[in-house]
Symmetry: C2
Subunit: 191 residues, 2 copies
DNA sequence: GTCTATAGGAAGATAGAC
DNA sequence: GTCTATCTTCCTATAGAC
């Protein structure tokens, strides 16, 4: 065994992320973040001099990287477009804990359009997701314009299913959304 | 002219609603609500002894009533199903200020499923909306099961389009969602 | 790099005058 | 019914010891 180490950065970011996803940005107090991570407030400020906003920024970019790794890369990977989408939906299910967790992109977005400290980063993540979905449809020889429209629709359905799941108090809408994803994208049952 | 009157309850609720929709529930402080309404904090507590939570409850039930009046009733009204949906989409556009304002149902919902003080009311509003959409499709002789699935999908698209509009910084997704609503519901272009 | 302690202010909420 | 003034609690953020 090596020297006793303080909390790993990866774990730390994961815990912070979960707090933000469980209560939202505004309701996530430093006291809460401190208790969840086991680090006192002053220690959090040592790692994140910018306070809560910096934490959320780093959590968000971490989530973007995770999405890229687990969702976007598989979409561009090997296998048929249908297979790639199947991988994606599985990963999305994990990403959102089967629909039990809300989406950071929704939680960190300002209610008012084009506002808030995270607007720029959120936009670029949405753009990347739409672009990857469009790409997999292009590979399936779906015309450019239709591919874009369906990609945007898929993202809307994904986000909407998470909202509706929370609204109805059941993860069913999210799960069905994932199940139908292939049809939504390719216009026919995948396999 | 009658006696000088204090702020009308209708206007008051409208202002409170706008604050909640502009910044979200947690970020809406009593100081903010006080300044927006022109009523001092103590006066707000006189009208809403339960404080911010009661305000949000009343705003939410007001929004539910408004939705019922402006969206659900037209859906059950006269005219062909297609016409009724056209009325609905127009009203939805106004309701969400063309996509510039977020949805209270999303903002007041707890990030965690089945939690928070507004979960019950939010659920019943979503249920009513889905039910009305289903009804108009039944009138269009769409089978029960398909009607339900499409109704839920329409609500997902609506909510998702609002999320995506905020995410991309443009109301275009919301506007296109409304434009496509008829096709989503009836499976063909309405007129 | 983590801690205790605390500053300084904003939060929700109430008392009591008018 | 609205106000001023105030209370208490919680918040973000920092100072400084170890």
């Amino acid at each position: 065994m090596g020297r006793p180490v303080s909390i790993e950065t990866v774990d730390l970011m994961c815990i912070l992320s979960n707090v933000f996803r469980d209560v939202g940005y505004e309701a996530a107090s430093l006291a809460m973040l401190s208790e969840a991570t086991g680090l006192k407030k002053a220690s959090l400020y040592h790692r994140f001099p910018g306070g809560k906003e910096q934490m959320a920024h780093e959590v968000l970019s971490g989530a973007g990287a995770l999405l890229s790794e687990n969702v976007l890369v598989p979409l561009q990977g090997d296998g048929s477009p249908e297979e790639r989408v199947r991988v994606m939906t599985r990963r999305l299910g994990e990403f959102y804990s089967g629909g039990k967790q809300a989406c950071l992109l929704n939680l960190l977005a300002s209610p008012l359009i084009n506002q808030g400290p995270f607007a720029k980063e959120i936009k670029s993540i949405f753009r990347a997701l739409i672009d990857s979905l469009k790409g997999v449809m292009i590979d399936a020889e779906i015309p450019d314009k239709i591919a874009l429209a369906r990609a945007e629709r898929a993202v809307m359905l994904l986000q909407g299913s998470l909202v509706l799941s929370r609204g109805l108090g059941t993860t069913r809408p999210f799960k069905e959304c994932l199940k139908n994803m292939s049809v939504e994208l390719f216009g026919a049952v995948g396999e």
